[in-house]
Amino acid sequence: MNLDLFLQYMVAGVTYGTIYGIVAVGFNMIYNATGIINFAQGEFVMLGGMTAVTLGRFLPLPAAILGAVLITMIVGALLEILFIRWLHRPSVLRMIVITIGLSILIREGALHIWGESVRALPYFTGTSVTSIRLGGVYISPQVLWVVGIGAVVVAILAGFFRYTLLGMQMRACAANRDAARLCGISAKNMVTFSFMLSAGIGALGGCIVSPITYVQYDSGVPLAIKGFTVAILGGLGNSLASAGAGMLLGILESLSISVLPAAYKDVISVAILLGILFVRPSGLFGSVEEARLKEF
């Protein structure tokens, strides 16, 4: 394999990785606030993409994306308020069942609203054939948009959780709900807020990847599976780690295609996941001590 070809595979890997990573970040958000996995995360991504395509008919692209993110955030908040808020100390299993149920609900709802056809936002820069040529390597400008926006989102989130009061309150709730409540933090509001935030991030992700991946009422599930894999791989709860793990998985998948038939792509990613979970159950970047304290 020559250098150009190798770099071209790397570009493909980074594209896959960013798509996975951006979904994984949403998983982490709710996990951080509640200690549960929201299996409807992929549906937030789908909702964001679908809503933006619909709004895009009347509004300019940035406004359509902003609108889609806001609408999905409201949906996220409503779901939490209607289905989760009033539960008293729900078990992990119960939450899994509820979020899987919500995922099916949203999917079927989307089918009724939008039908079964495939949609996509236009490419932000150029068209579907535009590519930037660097030496012998071609990169679609949309990949740069996805990587750029993804990086900004992860950076803002990291800062938000570390330095803002609201972010610290959310972390406090995740660490110890009772202690946080004793300090006067409304744990319930924090959970609602985390759902809104992760819905918003999912929706933004859905908007920026939709020119590449397309969006359909049922495109949330495969994205959620990959995103979940990456979130576990990086260590649950750590957004930066899942971004890194996403890249790693994407590049490994892409390089695997260069030597093996492409049909084995998913086999390889799952094999890697299993291998790492046997050796490091807390994920690649997670701390072993921390993992012992986690419920899930």
């Binding site: 896959y16 054939v129 590519s131 359909q216 295609i257």
Partner: protein
């Protein structure tokens, strides 16, 4: 008490009499197993809407031979397991005369045996050749054969002097069957497959796959798939700077795929039935009136573009209706014979000539080579 009971009995008897009177024109029960939702919904969606439209139309005219059509549309979601249980339900419980569909080749192959065993006519809307080759007594299909589609592509390649190709296929029944046919037909056409990859139907980006093909120096890419991911292939191939021709299957015949691929779809070459270019066909074409009527009716009723897939369901329904008319009865055996001996039936997919050896009834002339020009389907080279 006794008197009151008598009145009730009288009423019941009367009701039964009335019921018996209605029963004289017993409806014809027709089942349909279609992927209305799920990954193959772009097939099943237009198919089920087409069937509903046709049943309404036929019933408004008083039905077939005075019998109304009662349609049972089952949504398999594209899953072979569901198709199997629906097929059993339709045959054993509903006792349908015929089953239209399924939408996909994978599902059809799973229920082929059930239709044979249940002696129920199966008019599949799926493309793979294995459905009717070898011929099964009760199984027919309306879409054109994939081997003919591939031959049409290879003929075009020969005139373009292309001999080294790369093949990408989706991991669905349609993709697998097509890949097999391509590999079988390539040597006799003097074409070498230098790289072949299979991709997942839920793929989100396929840059690595097309990079591999480009690295193998292929002159043209054949992309054989029926799922939305096929549009991703075209896009990624153009993005990495592949400039050779891209050939698609007849599974590309949905304008939504063209819209999804955007500028990358321009110039793609694919064989398809004439529905997509109904408006630009010469008036001398035998299919034109049928195509234009179906297209206009469908587009007026559902406010969306008609696709060849809906056309397959149209053909299946109309062939069945014609066969019932011809047989003059709803006896399964007689209707089946009527289909098998039907010749010169003008449908959306082509002019059907069924025989005991050919349960598809279409030849390579059912295909027209199409391309995409300014985001619309156009006749290739014209």
């Amino acid at each position: 008490m006794r008197g009151r009971n008598g009145i009730i009995v009288a009423f019941v008897a009367l009701a039964l009499l009335v019921g018996a009177g209605v029963q004289a024109a017993e409806p014809i029960k027709v089942g349909a197993i279609l992927a209305v939702t799920g990954p193959a919904s772009f097939l099943g969606g237009p198919e089920s809407r087409t069937l509903e439209m046709l049943a309404e139309e036929v019933n408004a005219k008083g039905g077939i031979n005075g019998h109304k059509v009662e349609l049972f549309i089952m949504d398999s979601g594209g899953s072979p397991e569901k198709a199997v249980s629906f097929a059993k339900q339709l045959i054993e419980e509903k006792k349908v005369l015929a089953i239209l569909g399924p939408s996909t080749s994978g599902e059809t192959m799973q229920i082929k045996g059930i239709a044979e065993e249940g002696k129920t006519i199966l008019l599949s809307c799926a493309a793979a050749e294995v459905i009717v080759n070898p011929v099964a007594k009760w199984v027919f299909k309306t879409p054109q054969k994939d081997s003919d589609a591939i031959q049409a592509i290879f003929n075009q390649m020969k005139s373009m002097k292309i001999s080294k190709i790369g093949v990408l296929s989706g991991n669905t029944g349609f993709g697998k069957a097509g890949k097999g046919q391509i590999e079988k037909l390539a040597p006799e056409n003097g074409i070498t497959i230098v790289a072949s990859e299979v991709y997942d139907k839920a793929s989100t980006d396929l840059t690595a796959e097309v990079t591999k093909l480009k690295a193998a120096n292929v002159e043209a890419i054949v992309n054989w798939s029926i799922v939305p991911a096929q549009s991703i292939v075209i896009k990624n191939a153009r993005q990495i700077g592949f400039t050779g021709p891209i050939f698609q299957s007849h599974g590309f015949g949905n304008i939504k795929y063209v819209a999804a691929a955007g500028a990358a779809a321009e110039g793609v070459i694919f064989p398809a039935g004439r529905l997509l270019v109904a408006d630009v066909l010469p008036d001398s074409n035998a299919q034109k009136p049928v195509l234009v009527k179906y297209k206009n009716d469908y587009e007026k009723k559902y406010k969306e573009d008609a696709s060849t897939f809906g056309g397959h369901a149209y053909d299946a329904f109309m062939i069945l209706a014609k066969a019932i008319e011809k047989a003059g009865s709803t006896d399964k055996e007689k209707v089946r014979d009527a289909i098998e001996t039907m010749r010169g039936f003008v449908g959306t997919g082509g002019v059907f000539d069924f025989s005991a050896e050919d349960h598809n009834g279409l030849g390579i002339d059912a295909f027209e080579l199409l391309t995409v020009k300014d985001g619309k389907f156009a006749l290739y080279g014209k």
